[in-house]
Each structure stands twice: as structure tokens, then as C-alpha cells.
Symmetry: C2
């Protein structure tokens, strides 16, 4: 079960300067009905993520089971949309100590930071490791750089068995990984053509690593199906959670100046969910001079770091809290504690956490900072599946509100092209000239 409480974004709670009027929300009803029917028609292409909950997972589960049995280490080589989903599923559903007490141990090689690469290589044993290389295009620089080094290690340490330690997740037809995989008899999983990186967590990109880690991927998809069902039948703003999230954020942004969308779970396990959300929200909606900046925070930790700013700084924020109602374990403050602190006696950590959230919300209401709370009855694949689909649909719908294409990312290319030029890649000489024109180091201070 998930519950969305949006009382505190409404004008009745925080006033009209910062809050939304109910009639203002409802004034979008014609737009919503029209957009709703467009989205239903787009599900075969742009909104293809909406089809993913209905896929057949048999093959994914069979391959995952083989890997679980054969290997002690499972390393995902991928970045951005190819890693954030799996990371989120791993951290929210497998717990903080998975790698200490369970196998296969899981690592993500996303960055090209040599310190991180070394840290992973120092732990894994190559002959017991499976590498899942994930890239839709098959040519992502970081992914291919990490892969190229690993390929060399596999070939030199395992001789002819090297290809059995690799699984590629890539475009069904195009790209370097597909070609190399076919030529070398490497097991491959398909990323459906119409699914872009940041909408791909419910494709083999996220499902396969999840299955290898023992996560119930069918339950993930069940949750997503349920959310798809609700979002497909409900045209009414107040009953469609995806449209509601999109609209409250859009109105807050464009009419109340809330240019920042903070997501602040009161759960350590949800930390990576925010990283996944950050990519989805920023890369989909950050275009044409528009879009909110997604900001990651964590309760209660950031009460001691960011709440001063959120309450008394610029009035440019809307906050989404995530709350967990039931936990697998909890710890009680004992009765026999010193008098000065005995107001804590008998409370549990979970209770304190939730009371801190309530206290923070009340303080924000008082400062008229709009905030939404998403409550999960517990952390489960089903609930996470619902949340994933919810935010994907909210993001897709927001594209219509902002009148932008939420499925492309044109501004990302420029930096890549300059990087290719700097690395001497063929065909990029003109970018090198442009780089030298643009890039100077004129103003510097150096301290020894």
C-alpha cells in the first residue's frame, strides 16, 4: 500500500502565496482528460515503459538463477540509466549489510574513478565473478572503458572460458556490445528499442540484477501493473496519483516559484531511490530553460543540515517526504535511563523517526513550505514497483505540462563530443579546435 498526502501543498494549509487552490488544480481537468487519452495511444512508443510491467520474466529468472548458483560476485558495469535503477532496487530491498552476509556480493562499476575501480578489484575474485555490462547504445564511454579493462583481465586469467563470465544487456540489434556479444557467444539480454535509459529499470536493465540478488521481480511488476491500472482508468486529477504529483509540482514551479523539488525519505534504504528520481526528473524535464532541480535529502540527518535553509531561506522549494509505516525490526529505548533523558523511555527508534518527521512537517507548514508525504506500509518489491511506475508516469505526463519531450536529452551530447575530441577519437578534430577556442585558464589562485 502507498498513500499520498498532499494536504500541505494546498492553499488552505499554507496560504495562497505558496499553496495551491483546489479550484486551480481542478482547472486542469480538460487538459488532463485530453492528455490522458494521448498517453494511452503513446504506450506503444514514447510511453513504452508502461508496457514493461506486462513482460514475460521467465528467461530473466532462468539466467539469473544460473548466475546465483555459479558466481560469488556480481558486478554491474553501467552508468546513469543503466545503473541507478539496479542500485535503488539493491539498496532498498536487500539491506545495508547484503555484501557482508550474503552472496553473490554486488558491486557497481559506474564511474571511471580509479579509486573505485581498485576498491572493487581488491575484493572480487575473477574466477568467481560475473560481469553484467549494460548500455543501450553499446558505446557509453565509462562503461566501455571499464569493460575493456575487465575484458583483458578475463582473457588473461581465464583463457577460453572468459566469455562465460559476461552478460550484456543492450539494444536488441545495434551497437558495439550487440556486435561483440554475437561474435563471441556472450549471453545477452535485450533492452526494448523504445525504452530510454532512465525509464528502463523495469526492463532487463534493472530486473536482471534484481533477480540475481534474489529480489522477487514478479512482485515488482505486480506493483507496477497495479499503478498502471489506476493511472490508466482514472482521468480525475484527484484520483490519479501520477497526474496529481505532476500537477502539484508543475503549479508549484511555474506559478509559485518552487524551482527546487526536494525528495527527503525518512529511511536510509531509500537514499538511492532519490538518486534514481534525480535522473528521471532532471534529465526528462530540465530543458528549454525550464524544469525543477531535484535535490536529495535524508531524514532525520538533513534536519541537522538543510532544514534551516528550507524553512528560512529562499521560498523556492517543494518537498516530498517518504515515510515507512512498518519495519522489520525496531529498537526500544529502555526504562532505566538517567532522569535528564527519560522522556525518551519506552519509545522506539522507529517512533522517534516518525515523530521527527511529523515535527519537521509542522515546522514547515508554519513557514508555509509546500510538502507532500508518500507513505509505504512497508518496504516491499510490490510497493517499490508502484512507486517506480508512479514517478515514471508523473514524469511523462509532466512533459505535456511543460510542452517538452521528456524522453530525450539533447544537451548531454556536447560534453561527450568534447571528451571524444580530447581523447583523440577519429572524426572529432573540429571539436578539439572549438574546445581550444572556448577553454582558457586565465584566473587562478594557487596555494602550496
Amino acid at each position: 500500500m502507498i498513500r499520498i498526502d498532499y494536504t500541505n501543498v494546498m492553499a488552505e494549509t499554507i496560504g495562497e502565496r505558496d499553496g495551491i487552490l483546489r479550484e486551480e488544480l481542478l482547472s486542469f481537468r480538460h487538459f488532463v482528460v485530453e492528455t490522458h487519452s494521448r498517453i494511452q495511444k503513446e504506450k506503444e512508443r514514447k510511453f513504452y515503459f508502461a508496457k514493461l510491467p506486462y513482460q514475460d520474466t521467465e528467461y530473466i529468472k532462468i539466467v539469473a538463477q544460473e548466475i546465483r548458483e555459479k558466481f560469488d560476485y556480481f558486478v554491474l558495469i553501467g552508468i546513469g540509466g543503466s545503473s541507478l535503477g539496479a542500485q535503488m532496487l539493491f539498496e532498498s530491498l536487500k539491506g545495508i549489510n547484503h555484501n557482508i552476509f550474503n552472496r553473490p556480493k554486488f558491486f557497481i562499476m559506474d564511474n571511471v574513478d580509479p579509486d573505485k575501480f581498485k576498491a572493487i578489484m581488491d575484493i572480487i575474485e575473477i574466477e568467481k565473478t560475473c560481469f553484467n555490462v549494460i548500455s543501450k547504445s553499446g558505446s557509453t564511454v565509462e562503461t566501455i572503458a571499464n569493460f575493456a579493462i575487465i575484458l583483458d583481465v578475463l582473457r588473461s586469467e581465464l583463457s577460453e572460458r572468459w566469455n562465460q563470465h559476461l552478460i550484456f544487456t543492450t539494444d536488441p540489434e545495434k551497437g558495439f556490445l550487440r556486435k561483440f556479444g554475437s561474435e563471441n557467444n556472450i549471453k545477452m539480454l535485450d533492452i526494448p528499442s523504445h525504452v530510454g535509459g532512465r525509464f528502463s529499470v523495469l526492463s532487463p536493465v534493472g530486473l536482471f540484477p534484481a533477480a540475481v540478488l534474489g529480489i522477487d521481480i514478479d512482485q515488482l511488476l505486480e506493483g507496477a501493473k497495479k499503478m498502471d491500472l489506476i493511472c490508466s482508468i482514472e482521468e480525475h486529477i484527484e484520483h490519479n496519483p501520477a497526474y496529481l504529483i505532476a500537477l502539484t509540482h508543475y503549479i508549484a514551479n511555474m506559478r509559485r516559484g518552487k524551482t527546487i523539488s526536494v525528495m527527503m525519505p525518512y529511511s536510509e534504504k531509500f537514499s538511492s531511490f532519490v538518486d534514481w528520481y534525480r535522473q528521471l526528473w532532471a534529465e526528462s524535464l530540465g530543458k528549454d530553460g525550464l524544469g525543477q532541480t531535484p535535490v536529495k535529502a535524508l531524514g532525520t540527518v538533513d534536519q541537522h543540515s538543510q532544514i534551516q535553509l528550507y524553512r528560512d531561506g529562499l521560498r523556492d522549494k517543494i518537498i516530498t517526504f517518504i515515510q515507512i509505516e512498518k519495519r522489520e525490526s525496531d529498537f526500544k529505548i529502555p526504562e532505566n535511563i538517567p532522569e535528564d533523558i527519560n522522556y525518551l523511555s519506552g519509545h522506539t527508534l522507529h517512533e522517534i523517526l516518525n515523530k521527527e518527521l511529523l515535527g519537521t512537517k509542522a515546522a514547515l507548514i508554519k513557514s508555509k513550505v509546500p510538502n507532500i508525504t508518500i507513505s509505504l506500509d512497508r518496504i516491499s518489491p510490490y510497493n517499490i514497483g508502484m512507486l517506480i511506475y508512479l514517478y515514471e508516469m508523473a514524469t511523462g505526463f509532466s512533459g505535456y505540462l511543460y510542452k517538452i519531450n521528456p524522453f530525450d536529452q539533447p544537451a548531454v551530447e556536447e560534453g561527450k563530443n568534447f571528451t571524444y575530441a580530447l581523447m583523440g577519437r577519429e572524426g572529432y578534430k573540429h571539436k578539439l579546435e572549438e574546445f581550444e577556442e572556448l577553454y582558457k585558464e586565465r584566473y587562478k589562485i594557487e596555494i602550496q
Copy 2:
């Protein structure tokens, strides 16, 4: 060595709409000279952090050595200013795998999340664990809640030896921890009275955990001393790195609408440095409706998540990159790789990382997004010490620019008081009534 390159915040690079004119920067010279002399006088009180580099570290080192010899696990119980500094020093200077290959293993109990508490308890062995409880006030809810449970565990498992597993770092005179520590013969370290949480990393708050972990704390202080020296003698904006950082950010914010300050290190080890900076910047300057929102990003990972927004979204950002020039280890892409990807051959991961940063910077210049780069020749205690002092002084100086007190955090109290009320603490009944008045749950959607 650290180097600050601010070429790309200047109007000559990115134009006058988004960039700063040199004469605009220099027009602050009288303000700077005046403020400079005020700051020198304030070092005995508000700017007391500037005295910390000159403290005697003998006692800290002696106690730390004892702990290193006696214990296999070292757990810091503290939150916000009491944990972010130690976390930053640990992650930047001890590496990603410290807890796997070294002792004492280090954990931070900051949150009151039962999942995190359980994760730590599942690993440590009480009879081999030292707990360092850190709180200036001695009454921080999260810290005391975690401590109360640990106290009970220590007493029941270790009988009369329980107090030898505790070290308190707290106010030299006041508060519950000081009182309880004195009564129970617990070893204690002093947080100097004039040092607030977020400026305390170079006091025993950060230095003691660092010393226990084997970090050279004298080198940390040497770096901070060097930065203090530069900042104390240089009244010229272009030669004083702290004033330069403060002024470029202030002008970008108040005159160019850059309400967001992104910090984006191209180093995994610097991830927690940004968390430390986030608290410093947000809690110090986020008041009176002013202050930038600090945002954490990581290169290259966030090129695949946030750069679309940074380049093509709202023009509300100034970005600080952190770059590491030399690494302890590096990995080369081999020569014998498939032709499609052979432009990578011969490059190292470190080179690719830095070329990605250059490519990203060029793309941002093209989109006229102001950015500063701080380069460290290497990750060392000395360089980190310089950076810490640099940002503390930049923050303190910024208080004068914004005309606010950077050393208080008045807006944090309200949420705490509501939380106390919700927990039934004596004397907070009126807050409970206020809470019930403010807090309703009127607008909700629930999905089973």
C-alpha cells in the same frame, strides 16, 4: 597544493548576463578591507574556528592510540555537525575498503533509522567496541536515543567495565553528557565553547575519530594553518581564496540569479566532502529569505543524470568542480581491444575522468553556466585541511555579505520542539496544541 580556477565565472568567458565583471569583483575592495579587519578581531569568539589549527593535539593522539590498540570497532554516535566532518575525513582519507581490510572498523550512528542501527549492531562485537558519543549540547535527540540503547547493552553485557567503552566529546561544562560522564568516570574530550557544530571538524569532534582511524591530524592542521595564514595576510580579493569564493558566489546569487550552488567532485572519495559543505553553506547562510541551496553532484556519474538540466534548464546554478591531479593507483585501457572502441586504447581511467571533466566544462561554458574548479595535486590530510579552512572562512565572510549571522540556526528549533511535544516531554504541552491546530490530513490518495 590546491588551485582555484575561476576563469569560467567571469564575464569574459561566459558573458555579462551570467558572468562576473572583473571591475564588479574589485568594487568590493573597501568592503573586503573593512570586513577583513573585523574578522581578525572576531577570532576569539565567532570566528573561533580560525584558532583551532593552533591547538595542542597531544591528548587527542594519546587517547586515540589507546583506542586503536584496544578496540576492533569504533562507533561514532552523533549527527549533523557532530558526524559530517568525521565522515568526510574518513571517506576522503581512508578509502572505500577501510572496513574490509583494516581495523578499527568505523561506523557512524547518526540517524534513528532502525534499519541502520540494526545493520551496525549485526556487525560489531560489543566487547571489542568503543563508542564515541558526540554532542555539543549533550541533548541531541537522535544521539541520546542511540546512546540510551547502547548504554543499556554495555551495562548488561560488560557489567562494571561498561564505562571504559565510552568516550564523550561535548561542551566543557554544560549538558547531560558532561554531567553523566563526570558522574560515571567516562573519558571526555572538550568542544571549545565558541565552536558551533558545523565549524567543529578541526576540534576533537573531527580530529579524535580521525586520529583513531590513523589519519595524520597534525598534517590536517598544518594545511588549515597555511590557509589561515594566506587568508589572514591577504586583503586583496584576487589573492584571498576564501573571500574570492564568497564573493563570486554572492555576486552570482544576488546579481545573476544563481540561487543554487552545485558542488561536483570528480572523485568518489569526495562524496562526503559535499555533505559537509552542504551543511556549512545551507545552515550558515540560509536565513532571512536568502542563501543559496547547496546541491551535491558527482562526476562523471551525474553527467548522465544532471548535466542535461544544468546546461539547458533554469539558469540558476553556479557549479564548483573538484579535481584530483594525481592518484595512488590507476588503470590503463589495454592496446588489444576491438576496433570499434580502440580510441580508448592507452588512456587510463584517471585520464578519461579528467577529460570528461574538461569536456563537461567546455559544454557548460558554451551554455554560459558559471563554474569554478578546485584542483588538489593529491588527496592528502594537508590539502583537506586547507579546503576545510577555506570553506569555513568563505562561509564566515559570506555572513557579512548577506548581512546575516552565519553562526546561528534559529529556524531549526521549531521542528525539535514539535517533536519533543509529540514524545510527551514535560513542558511542551502548548506545542502539542499548536501541532494539532496546524497538522491535518485532508487530501489523500491511497493505493492498495
